[in-house]
Symmetry: C3
Subunit: 510 residues, 3 copies
């Protein structure tokens, strides 16, 4: 290891001090990782975690494609599996692309394999096509992920799922790449084999409202219908001023067998697709609006705005009002058909318009904003907050709302559950702060249990395992501070890991 | 204890896994509860707590009725004492009323004994009238309170005050009920005996401005005048657009012996009642406005709006402006008469209008909102922030304001103190976060000391004891991190528990 | 030590319980101060801190005057060095000026030596002129600083820099004063000698845009040109409605040798001064706007508003729009000339207008406000967020923005770094919360490294030392929770203390 005696005296180049990472080996996961360091808490946390670590995974919200499991084809190369589609990972490498601490060769998303859109402006940089080169760049930037959940999840997947034995670095990149390629070729690394190995009991995908759910039908035909279920996501249909809305609505009509010509047929088509999702095993809907606003319009105004939208003349203000109105309508339909309503507001998508126009959405440029829930959710909660068949799960990336708004709301309205800490907050410290900020007022039983929300299939076990470890640590503290008895903590740990996610997303015909 | 071996393999019913709670006995309070688990901090915290645990209770803000102590009659049954009037408790049981994890028989507030208003809409569900049944429902839902302060306080009261020996559960409910009924019949469980036993030195009640303070007069006649003091709460009089405002103003006039016919007589009547409260021993006023806004109007506008209000024609905007103006006037009067001005803003009352219309206010449907203090308090602080006789204590349920707004303000204006963490934040972790977020900038001596703010008389010792434990833990950390010497920590602990609340609420004639 | 047996029984005067502070001696700094108390974390933190404690200090943003080092004259008396100019310290003593716990003799800023402005209203209290008396007041109020960073920094400076051996108190004040006076007279306590002793490698000052940089020229002539560099601060020039703006612009023109008669000459003069700063070794600009807004105007509007401003007719709304526009222009110029753009928004200056009119700015009455970054910074980040030569470092006093806004932004835009926790957040617990809230999303390498931002020269080593201790504690926790390997933690600790601040503020010609 380097000594630093030379530093005070003179200039230091920005990378000369790097610890040679090849020196550290073999690579492994510590059995106590992410448990509290405190010597009183750790044995308690270990005992609690031991009761949950083997429980099946209930993954009720995520972005894994059903086709992946329907096809059950081998995964592609390591870059395609780990790097290019993972916006957490891409964004961090891009953020250091002009820094002396960054990974050589990364100047933007394209150098990590992200391809320009067909509609990209002239001169847009083309994507790196050599997966080994992409993988090298990621490995050379491994130090940038220190302290982040990406580091934690990736480490878990590489070591535990793929049996990698060296920490990623410029030096180890090629050997790791070859190792992963070898593993990916084996039958036991195909999606369904991993699904079994991961102990997944049920996995929910996220699907457009107009999806024919063909992949789910193939899964059902294979006897996997109860294991992989769709989720109804109508966002693009509810924002009447977004480019492509009319085409989406036409597709909705096709899928529903109902030509959408007015507000009534629009609602009918949505209702029809919801029924198709229920028939295909769906448990929930999902809504990613910018604001949580659920203020309904009267029917005449809604009719008028939708007519204007169909003519292409709705104003942005009308579009906003209509999307809030439609959240209210979605709640009303949920109270009828029993689909759990998931709300994921507060993210400003595509903050950098230039990147979005060149490379499309989901490239790491989505940024949280402050989000108001108390008045925004009031219309839905007054109307359906005590309804026996209605269930809303609210997520946030604005952690100030945990103690101030969401825990107080979820702590009184029977229909509302507080979702697991989401996206930028789905981290060891984020989950800990969530429990500390929400439990006082919402308790444990008004939360949804863990929701992984990932598109990275191989990270699912890491994410659930991490949540169980953090909850074990939180409960251990309550026990050690004599605020909870050990038997209660054990029962609660199991409920958080297993029974609450199951109970939070009941089958509609419950 | 249950083994979980059976869970991974198959379906689990939602309650089959419950640990039988009857197995855990006897029930007791750990002497180190709520102290830090860390083995370095705990002995230090224990030493600090030992210096404060026996100090008298100074309870300068709460909602215990003076009549309780004036009458000194035995408490009613366990449901009436612990369940029905406690909105923390009612809200949690209601929140799980449609959940498989909830307490059987609870479908809404009515099943916990909350009676409909006389004006409730037709068809409103009537209240459960059997107190034993209400108590059973609470006990069956005991697990829902895990990790909450309600659990902590109730446990303290049941074990320490009432000597209960079994953890509440469906199985133990009846025995506990009988035990409590037996205790409540004893003379040493009457209010004044408990007051003595709790070591309360002084207790402030909260009283409408027009209250004749008859109960306080009876207490004074019994020699309890210095022990139970009133607090002047004029909220309904300062919101000219609320239903019933005119009747309240008429009552104010009657109480003051001044017919309120215009702005001048309105101020005179308020001033007169403040003087009556001072004479009855009051230390403070209390203000629960939605916003902290203290912007004054000029006298002509104030006069005009009050005239309009007396005619029933004030607009909502005028009403808002007038209530902010009146906070400024209350500050001006405090600078004259020396009553400490307590501000409790930021709670949206009666979020669910339907529940409020059926069962009235204070049923658990009050929800915090983001609250701005910096500009809102500026008019009062510029006018009176350096006034020798003016003291404002500001509370919040929006913890984001601790480090950003309230600690910086309280850390410079002599007249401002930062109140103890309030309501949803009056919890072990909430109090810890408060000290961590506010001490850097406000120190300890610009905070009010502990304020319990409870209507649950039997929880007062639990709340003060908990605050002393949390402060001991916080100070222990400063000592262990060598940021404070032990002798300083001991002195500070005593100040926070005793001298600061006394000094924060001086008698007006100080 | 006092026993508290007497307290419960009767009345207590507010100061009778004070622990005699003279009893504690000798005074020293614990080698493990500000490291975690946890027995697992402390040895790890100690090991990490050992690798950074001797590193040179890179102080890239602060308010020490260049003249101090150019003159290298002895410091004045202890009051002038420690008390009067330190707004942290003044504000705390003022905050307790009407309290029984406060320091005797302090009724307002004047009693701590703050002199009225020449333009102060008639009747403004005059300043205490006896430095020993000011020092006594500070020492008598020492207990008020418990738990604050002022206490920590001052303790460090008194013990470590000045070898004081008694804790400040009313009893020790005079002996401490005499001790400090004796030390200040020695040559080794002159500014340049302390600069060397502190191990400062480079120190950035903050200078008005129109400054002739004469003190920096004298330093350069002495061979100190690379050690003390200026920072370009144009705030008063960019707010066209502030009193004195026209005079400032005239001075800018003079300094630039360009008469400012319109928007073009205004930009030219700014550009010219930036070039002069670059030539004098500047690394950065600094911007203290109230809002972070960077929305540009079109050139015609900017021209029109500046013309109006030169005529004295710009409206407040125009002035606000223009100042946002000028932040965009400053970014554009930074992309040209390579000066790092530092943004310090969100502080409402001079909250108490009366104090500002009597005693001027920087008296402790600056209060943070909620600050929005996501939309405010969007124009600059869309335009320059991927520019190779552009670097912005954003600071905040609103810690809610760490996890919600600033870490997500800094975690994707290459040009943006998240500055160290600033002002009210530059504290042990504030820095810890900063790492916990920002690292998940921004990692370590998108933060700026430590920035001290102080005008108190003798506190610079304390502040850097404290930051290194807190980072050591944070990294120790990651290691102990097996989320980071020890070699990585060591490298990261060194980067945070030394390489990141160097790399964050590169010389413009890099």
């Amino acid at each position: 290891m380097q000594t630093f005696a030379s530093i005070p005296g003179g200039p230091v180049t920005s990378t000369a001090h790097r610890v040679p990472t090849t020196a550290t080996a073999p690579w492994s996961l510590h059995p106590d990782r992410a448990l509290p360091a405190d010597p009183v808490l750790r044995p308690l946390a270990r005992e609690l975690y031991a009761t949950t670590r083997g429980l099946p995974i209930v993954s009720m919200h995520g972005h894994v494609e059903a086709a992946l499991l329907a096809d059950d084809a081998p995964f592609g190369n390591p870059a395609e599996l780990f790097v290019t589609p993972d916006h957490y990972l891409v964004r961090m490498l891009v953020a250091q692309s002009t820094s002396p601490h960054g990974a050589p060769g990364v100047r933007g998303v394209q150098d990590l394999g992200v391809a320009p859109l067909a509609s990209a402006p002239a001169g847009t940089a083309t994507a790196e096509t050599d997966p080994r080169e992409i993988w090298r760049r990621f490995c050379a930037g491994w130090h940038l992920f220190r302290g982040t959940p990406t580091r934690y999840w990736t480490e878990h997947a590489l070591v535990d799922v793929f049996e990698a034995h060296a920490r990623p670095s410029a030096e180890t990149a090629d050997a790791l790449y070859d190792h992963l390629v070898e593993r990916l070729a084996r039958p036991e690394f195909r999606p369904r084999a991993l699904f079994e190995r991961f102990g997944i009991e049920i996995l929910a995908t996220t699907d457009p409202a107009q999806s024919p759910l063909a992949d789910h039908a193939r899964l059902a035909a294979d006897g996997w219908g109860d294991r992989v279920v769709p989720t109804f996501r109508p966002d693009p249909l509810l924002h009447v001023d977004r480019p492509g809305w009319a085409a989406q609505v036409a597709a909705l009509g096709s899928a529903a067998g109902t030509e959408v010509v007015d507000y009534r047929t629009y609602l009918d088509a949505l209702r029809s697709r919801r029924a198709a999702f229920v028939a295909a095993g769906a448990r929930a809907t999902d809504h990613g609006h910018l604001r949580a606003d659920t203020t309904p319009l009267d029917a005449a105004d809604a009719t008028r705005i939708l007519d204007a939208a169909l003519r292409g003349t709705a104003t942005p203000a009308e579009a906003d009002a209509f999307s809030a109105h439609m959240l209210f309508q979605m709640a009303a339909m949920s109270a009828e058909d029993g689909l759990v309503m998931q709300l994921h507001p507060g993210v400003l998508r595509d903050h950098c318009d230039g990147v979005a126009r060149a490379y499309g959405p989901d490239r790491g440029y989505d940024i949280p904003e402050q989000t108001e829930y108390v008045r925004a959710l009031r219309p839905v909660l007054e109307a359906f907050g005590h309804h026996e068949r209605f269930r809303m799960i609210a997520f946030t990336v604005d952690e100030t709302s945990f103690s101030r708004e969401l825990a107080p709301l979820a702590g009184v309205y029977p229909a509302l559950r507080l979702g697991a800490p989401w996206w930028f907050l789905d981290t060891p410290d984020g989950m800990r702060r969530f429990r500390e900020a929400s439990t006082d007022t919402a308790g444990f039983y008004n939360t949804s249990g863990f929701v992984d929300d990932t598109r990275a299939f191989c990270s699912i076990p890491a994410r659930h395992d991490l949540a169980r470890r953090i909850d074990a640590g939180h409960l251990a503290r309550l026990v050690a501070e004599h605020r909870l008895d050990l038997d209660e903590a054990i029962e609660t740990a199991v409920d958080l890991a297993y029974h609450l996610p199951r109970a939070s997303y009941p089958a509609p015909g419950r």
